[in-house]
Symmetry: D2
Subunit: 401 residues, 4 copies
């Protein structure tokens, strides 16, 4: 197999998830890390011949003034997750990547995110159309400079405030006109998605921001014969919900209430501490219990920024359910995981599966990736194991070719 | 549909599970209880036309001197589960059943269980062959007296001590010879199973006792064109294991250790407090994590008798796993459920599905019932959702007929 | 000892706490309940010769149309706490009390509480001065009709919204003038407190409403040679905080953050679900960790109304602290208690201790009762055991007389 | 204040606790660590003028072939507690201490501990009398070589199996005769204690081994005008018990059962995995709930060796208690702490307080140190806060001089 040159472009390229994914990629490439936590490394996906850990070129958009090395060291020091030694052993490669980063757009990201941006980044802002053009220029330059066969764009930036009423645009033409309007209501995440898809890049939205969820974006993907998927990575508490809710359903145990409290202290947490930004996240987390059970128990989801927790997201869930003869019983769980370390391998998995879908000529939404998302686009199934079966089925189909 | 007369014969007929199942049956029949916790009431099984809540005749073997009413009232008073009012509203029917109970056998049940037996029961003991004959006589008389079409025998008695080395008997003839030996090593649960199957009854082992797990019992079922399944009902902590372990597997998260502590205080707990009896249970609970993951993390399962807990089994599980880059994370859960109320509806489900299998002419082990058991006979699959799919597939096959 | 006639007047007289306290009193009087959960029954308080369980006359103000019996039965049915049988065995006495209840005032209780009031109660409302006069009339009539030696008034009504800026009134004269103003800003709880103290009754505020916390109320108590204390009963999560925070302090372990989530579903919970009413409660719960530790870790307290929980308040607390060499560690606790059953015995204790203080001629705030309150009036000490020592010291002083 | 030369002699000198205490001492001396977790650094003990972090000479007995540096690095790498950088910045001082270690005795330490000993250590073993003589020689040499004013000997070695029946020796003479017997039944910990006290050293037993708990050892301390205390450091779960049990007592809440499960994976855990060694520990942990409550609820304490946990001891405690009207409620806590990092600062505290007691001329048991121990010698009080008050009172007395 001759080596493919894959471009990976992160939105929020020096945030916790992108930094960890980038470091993780280098660790895997240099055989400093094992396959743990990588779905794409499961033996059952071996026949897919997914792209290996060589030949990736990583770059992206960022709004803060910092370096990847600095961010990786800070993560190591603050969070008791990966070791500083690992960062230092990849130092040269991390520094080499610095050439690949560009200032991102702040269009409609809300005041909490805007505040994080450095002056240099703020200076470059303009209209939505200008941002759109600049993103495309950045992507084109990245692809050319690195002779890339294909670029996968992944949104791992902080969560934007949700739109009160998303514009009812069905086609790429309508969307394009919206971008050209002086008061374009689209958030940054959607500008990035449109810019990427229009150039034929694959696009993945790992956040609860709007991204490619409007029908017009799917239309654009179809027009350009490219693909996309989202949204909101399913990393911890929600993963558990999508595993436990089906158990209650299949045992006919009636969930009366499901309460989930999440605390964590990384930058994502700081942004989500703004109630406006938090709303998007909570809605995305809350929906699926209802979907899986087929009825609506009382649910409560909270996400709170507790600084001392750093990257360690801790969730306490209290499930109050009725058993036989109406007797109430309780299941509680406590999940203590590092947010970035849960997200990063899934991001790497998504890149590999998406690259494979690109090779297979898949066009439009990649529903088979549903198991990676809290709110999978175009998919009503929220049972994790049913979603996983969709992935396996897709893989089986490809491997059979 | 003309009404079928179904016989249900419980081993351990006035214990917590059988009492709750019997009361629950009456509550369902009298429309005092809803479908909650009954798998067989899920809409997807409606096409099966399972037997409804009329026309069951319940009886069984018991070793203690007590009445069903007394036991039901005690459960209500001691455990804050179902209400005393429910028991009283079924009082007449509970009392009417008293005619259907016979003294059970104490053959090789170990000293802890033997101690529970009343003098009248102890007096009736004899050799294994005598016990076998007496069980059959009891079952025949029950069927005749009540003009039953079919009898399902369900073992819900206290857990026997495990045999050091189960006899290597492959055929019914060999087993029969063993029964006739003066020092027959078989435990009561296997005598009951053999007696039932030999008469063409269906047999279900809801406990971790030996029951029908020897190949010779399956041979007997084949010879008599009847059916059986077991063993050890999957009600709480183990159910969660069979749901959560697949999640770790499919996300490639490496489980390093899985510790589970169970505390409860009902009679089953008192018997399990004897380390000899406990062994069978712990082994059954411990096995499946390894099976599902495909490797062997350190596991620890304990069951402790804590009197104040009564029927409320509380389990704390601590799962220590490695995430990406080898970083250790933790999932803990706490399960607080009423043991009898979790078991009873599954027992009713098993009876209904088994009666349906009898009508369909199923012979031998009922592997499609795997999702109900911790150690399903003849089934290597321990993933709950895969097991559930087996049930659905069987149902689909029958419904299609 | 000749029998004393003690009057007990509850504000919120048919709410969960008052109903449980009333039922509990009757159970104790009729020897249907033991001393468990009653601080005043500890052997160390025996020398105090507290008033026994005879000769109490109970009455109060209520705003909903219901009977005590009805409320007690509902509590028994909805909550799996005390048994219906207990209620029925006190039925006659519960019904006999009905004559002793009067309509309460809705003055400044906020819309959420006002909504709960029945039409008959709403009709009786008037100005603050009228309410004040009516309350006094009710109390006088109660004392005369029952030939009471002394009346203890206890506020166990739902939490009022906090005043933005409590009026700066230092003396009874100023307060009296405020009551007479057409737009009197005082909430109902303070009108009750003033009316009671002015008549020489003792007053206890078991809620986080304003009650007697203004200096003018203490002035009034001094003028009338009576006594009062509050506020906000320390029943569950906060009790634990006042026990655990001193441990961290005395071991010099540095608390970085303390997160507490409370869920419950009784009427108090429904009222607290209004963010305005909730504020008073959260503030009261939040303060003491800081006080005990002497520095300010990040704290978060939430109270959420989850209907299915009924009276069962469940709290999850996550304490993130630094150990030696700065290493972060975690203590979590989960508290599952019945709210009314935790509060009711403390209310009975407070009545007994207060009656004793009345006999001893105590005037003004009863600081020695600090251990019963989240925010004890006039007391800076929040360490539970230090507070308990204050109670013991007071008792020792009295017993020595 | 002229500088004092204090000798600190650890039994188990390169185990987790001693290594952490030694590293911690160096970190404090070099101002690389703050006062967190050090009781002796609380402002209220400032008037005591405790010895500061200069002028300590550390040495000890060890049975394994290793270096302090190696152990410290291993702790850093395996456990995600303190950073490797901290170890490296103290490297020279750690290495300089190596001259101060001697082979310990294996007399009656049981097979599990004996197995850990290196060949060189095993070779030096002899009779109890020889071991006793050698220990004294080691201590004398240490004191002379370093011109020490006083030596505090601290036992932090692995837990020995308990004696079935401890010898009934009341006086030092009787004990001395026992040591000279060929089949001396005394365990190593008692030989160390006797050797140390006989030389006038102070002795602290931080483990549940026998140590100085026999009356004869106290007699020896009196004869030599020296002092001792023990036993079994109160670091985590038991600390919580000694804080929470008094809360239940003072609120008259009736504890029905108290279950505690501890899991951890350090060397201490490996030794405790031997049921014989575990017994001593469990007994020590179990006793105090009963003592504090004044009655005997059902209790269960387990300690399990779970390798993946390393030094992180996790305890789950389930307290089942009766509230008012007999209603059962539950408190659960989960404690996640690093075992060595919880123990080490207490060891440093004990050394400082003991050195102060030496200066003050205290002779015999140091009961005022009770708050540091699970089973404080000569002290019936188990309430942590009462024990802390004893420490404060002693300090007050000294400061007043």
């Amino acid at each position: 197999m001759t080596q493919r040159r894959l471009g990976v472009w992160f939105i929020g390229a020096k945030g916790g998830v992108a930094t960890t994914a980038t470091l993780g990629y280098l660790a895997l490439k240099n055989q400093l890390a094992g396959p743990t936590a990588l779905v794409s490394q499961l033996p059952e996906f071996a026949p897919l011949e997914l792209i290996d850990w060589n030949g990736w070129v990583i770059g992206g958009h960022e709004i803060r003034e910092t370096t990847l090395l600095q961010e990786a060291l800070r993560l190591a020091e603050d969070n008791r997750t990966f070791a500083k030694e690992l960062v230092l052993s990849c130092q040269e490669e991390l520094e080499a990547l610095e050439a690949n980063y560009r200032w991102g757009t702040l269009h409609n990201v809300g005041p909490t995110i805007t505040q994080l941006a450095c002056p240099a980044c703020r200076q470059e802002q303009g209209t939505a159309a200008e941002a759109f053009a600049r993103i495309q220029e950045d992507l084109r330059e990245f692809a050319q400079a690195n002779s890339l066969e294909h670029v996968v764009v992944v949104n791992v930036a902080s969560t934007e405030p949700p739109l009160q009423s998303p514009p009812a645009v069905q086609t790429w033409e309508e969307l394009r006109r919206l971008i050209d309007q002086p008061a374009c209501p689209l958030p940054a995440s959607t500008l990035y998605a449109a810019a990427a898809l229009d150039l034929g890049c694959s696009y993945i939205n790992f956040t609860p921001s709007l991204g490619s969820s409007l029908p017009a974006l799917d239309h654009l993907a179809q027009l350009r014969s490219t693909r996309h998927m989202g949204y909101d990575g399913k990393t911890g508490e929600t993963l558990l919900k999508s595993v436990l809710a089906p158990m209650f359903a299949k045992r006919n145990l009636r969930v009366m209430s499901w309460v989930g409290h999440n605390i964590f202290g990384n930058m994502d947490g700081r942004v989500l501490d703004d109630p406006v930004n938090k709303q998007a996240k909570v809605t995305s987390k809350d929906r699926l219990v209802r979907h899986i059970l087929g009825y609506a128990p009382q649910t409560l989801v909270s996400i709170e920024y507790i600084e001392s927790m750093g990257d360690w997201k801790t969730a306490w869930d209290h499930v109050h359910f009725q058993g036989f003869l109406g007797v109430p019983m309780v299941l509680q769980f406590i999940w203590q995981g590092s947010d970035s370390l849960l997200a990063a391998p899934l991001v790497l998995d998504l890149i590999r599966f998406t690259e494979r879908a690109h090779r297979a000529g898949h066009v439009g939404r990649m529903e088979f990736l549903a198991s990676f998302f809290k709110s999978p686009l175009g998919v009503e199934e929220h049972d994790f194991f049913e979603q996983f079966r969709m992935l396996r089925q897709w893989a089986g189909g490809l491997a059979a070719c």
